[in-house]
């Protein structure tokens, strides 16, 4: 009896151990480093140094802005694409596969793809020149054009990571019985009303999952930004990297890591609160 009851825990133990060793341990370490001072005591010195840095305010603003712009954009796009997919009978899987191709590419490679398009001698400039819209190469990704740079990062991120939202939402949409839509249609709901009254509320758990996942990843945005803008567009993860490897200052880098973790947790908590699904409404 006892051994049978213990078995599931025994089987779960390796994965727990794995997580503890490779995730919780380094996390604890990062906290320790972030909150210690060179003398060996506890202090907020690393956080003070982080906050006093010239790039800090920019990095925080840029990261938050990126999250605020990219995540809703991706959610809206994925919802739209998901609804469109639901409207076609044949070739639905093909469309889904094509749209998810960017998922298979690393974010570094995705950055390079967009760099090839947007750099001084990139495809975009060639095209604009060929059409006679510009006289010579235009700098899109420079320190002097922060808006264009920001837009480029947004576009690249949307292109790269909308598919994961789409996959989660499409999976959720497929769980909604067809009869709900038919009933809604018979009882007078227009296409928009069906979306608003049936799709959205029943998709809430999927939307929640997608938002949490995408927001956490958006707070960690790094490779695409580095490739397209270097440190011309400072972001939190980029600063952590710079402090760790350029300035060889693990303390401040860890402080950044702790900050990213904190805002991610806060966002997750917010989503869980705002998109709470009533227990009794799950049929």
């Amino acid at each position: 009896m006892t051994s049978e009851r213990a078995l599931p825990y025994l089987l779960l133990a390796p994965s727990l151990l794995f997580l503890a060793l490779l995730f919780l341990w380094p996390l604890g370490e990062a906290f320790l480093v972030a909150f210690s001072d060179p003398g060996g005591g506890w202090s907020l010195a690393n956080f003070r140094e982080m906050a006093d840095d010239l790039n800090f305010a920019d990095a925080l603003t840029n990261t938050l802005l990126l999250v605020v712009v990219v995540v809703p954009l991706q959610l809206a796009l994925a919802l739209g694409l998901g609804v469109l997919l639901g409207c076609i009978d044949r070739g639905r899987d093909t469309f889904l596969y094509i749209w998810t191709i960017p998922l298979g590419i690393s974010d570094l490679a995705a950055g390079i793809v967009w760099l090839a398009m947007l750099s001084e001698r990139g495809y975009l400039n060639s095209l604009l020149e060929a059409l006679g819209l510009v006289d010579g190469p235009v700098l899109w990704l420079s320190y002097e054009t922060p808006v264009a740079l920001f837009v480029a990062v947004v576009v690249a991120e949307v292109w790269r990571a909308t598919a994961i939202v789409l996959v989660i939402l499409v999976a959720g949409m497929q769980l909604v019985p067809k009869e709900y839509y038919e009933a809604a249609e018979v009882f007078g709901a227009s296409a928009f009303q069906r979306f608003r009254r049936i799709t959205l509320p029943l998709l809430k758990p999927s939307i929640q999952t997608a938002l949490i996942l995408r927001t956490i990843l958006a707070f960690e945005v790094f490779a695409v930004v580095v490739v397209l803008g270097g440190r011309d567009l400072p972001v939190l993860a980029g600063e952590a990297f710079a402090w760790q490897y350029d300035y060889q200052n693990a303390g401040v880098a860890s402080a950044y890591a702790v900050l990213i973790l904190t805002v991610s947790l806060a966002a997750t908590w917010l989503y869980l609160r705002l998109l709470r699904v009533r227990e009794e409404s799950l049929a």
């Binding site: 019985p177 009933a183 809604a184 249609e185 007078g188 409404s281």
Partner: protein
């Protein structure tokens, strides 16, 4: 409330012909049941009337309005689905109010009154604040019916609404549905494969088979005078018996050891259709159908026996007190006024 007219409806799914050419008319306030085995096209016909499916050709009229090109929401219909399709993310109240709100039927106050009226009709007025996930199957079905009645549709469509309920609940809901629907007097089309349900609910039954309506009549008329072999075999439990008959003289046919009066202008070979309860035991001596008793089923109200007669089975329903035992020989004669004749080629009834 209005009549429904279906004219020459055809529907194919790929190579499968679901409906060949179906026409029917349901009178204002009438309760029609579409009855047939699975795959006969009954649900397809219902969904075409609802607008959830588009016919390849043909017309559908409700009242004086041709509706087959209109979207479902413009048809002034309501529907009860087989698996209820009540919305899990809404309370019972919001479910029942759904159609009213979508169609902007009056103020919230008026809607509240209508919802309460419909809820009382199906006896769920005490559950209005609950979510449908907290309800039993029977209660959800009640919500689905209330949601449909609340919009006071011209036409009510029901797709096997009782088939997901357990047997006892189904009987209870059946009786209750009949009361409720009579009260509302809404023109109703009801799909089922359960012939007892059809018999007990319908004003008229349309028996569907292979994408066609084989007979469209009152339950009793179909029971007494089935238009085809299929109708006789599908309605009634146990179904009608069919026995081979051979012509011995014009208007005279031999069935087993019996000579019976049959139709005058029919072929040399016919099938005699006779209901199990229209067979009567005869005392030894007279001409009769003699079969050996295989199984006896005492049902209390009456008795069912299965006999073997010339290598085929014959079902007999008789008085519960008949002393019958397996292995015995039973001699039966059909009631002369209940003989029904069928052409084995066309499978259609031959009127005598």
């Amino acid at each position: 409330m209005a009549r429904i007219l279906v004219r020459d409806i055809k529907k194919t799914f790929g190579k499968f012909v679901a409906l060949k050419s179906v026409s029917m008319e349901v009178a204002d306030g009438e309760f029609t049941v579409l009855l047939g085995p699975s795959g006969c096209g009954k649900t397809t016909l219902l969904r075409i009337i609802a607008g959830l499916e588009t016919a390849d050709r043909g017309e559908v009229w409700i009242g004086e309005r041709r509706i087959d090109r209109l979207p479902p929401r413009a048809r002034n219909i309501a529907m009860v689905f087989q698996n209820y399709a009540v919305f899990p993310h809404m309370t019972v109240f919001d479910n029942i109010a759904f159609g009213l709100r979508m169609q902007k039927r009056g103020s919230e106050e008026e809607i509240r009154r209508t919802v309460e009226w419909a809820a009382e009709l199906v006896h769920i007025e005490s559950q209005l604040e609950k979510y449908t996930g907290q309800l039993s199957g029977g209660q959800r079905q009640r919500v689905a019916v209330a949601r449909a009645l609340a919009v006071r549709p011209q036409v009510l469509l029901m797709d096997e609404p009782l088939s997901n309920l357990d047997a006892l609940l189904r009987l209870e809901m059946r009786a209750e549905l009949k009361t409720i629907l009579r009260e509302c007097a809404t023109t109703t089309i009801y799909v089922t494969h359960d012939q007892v349900e059809a018999m007990s609910l319908a004003d008229r039954i349309a028996i569907m088979h292979g994408g066609e309506i084989e007979q469209y009549d009152t339950p009793l008329e179909i029971y007494r005078n089935p238009a085809t072999l299929f109708c006789g075999g599908f309605i009634g439990s146990p179904p009608m018996n069919f026995l081979e008959a051979e012509r011995v003289a014009p208007g005279r046919y031999r069935v087993g050891g019996l000579e019976l009066e049959g139709p005058r202008d029919a072929g040399p070979k016919l099938l005699l259709g006779i209901r199990p309860e229209d067979l009567e035991p005869v005392a030894d001596g007279g001409a009769a159908l003699a079969g050996s008793v295989l199984v006896v089923e005492p049902l209390g109200s009456h008795l069912l026996a299965t006999l073997r007669l010339d290598g085929r089975l014959l079902r007999f329903a008789g008085d519960a007190d008949l002393p019958l035992h397996p292995g015995e020989t039973l001699r039966l004669r059909p009631r002369a006024d209940r003989l029904r004749w069928f052409d084995p080629e066309s499978e259609r009834a031959v009127r005598s």
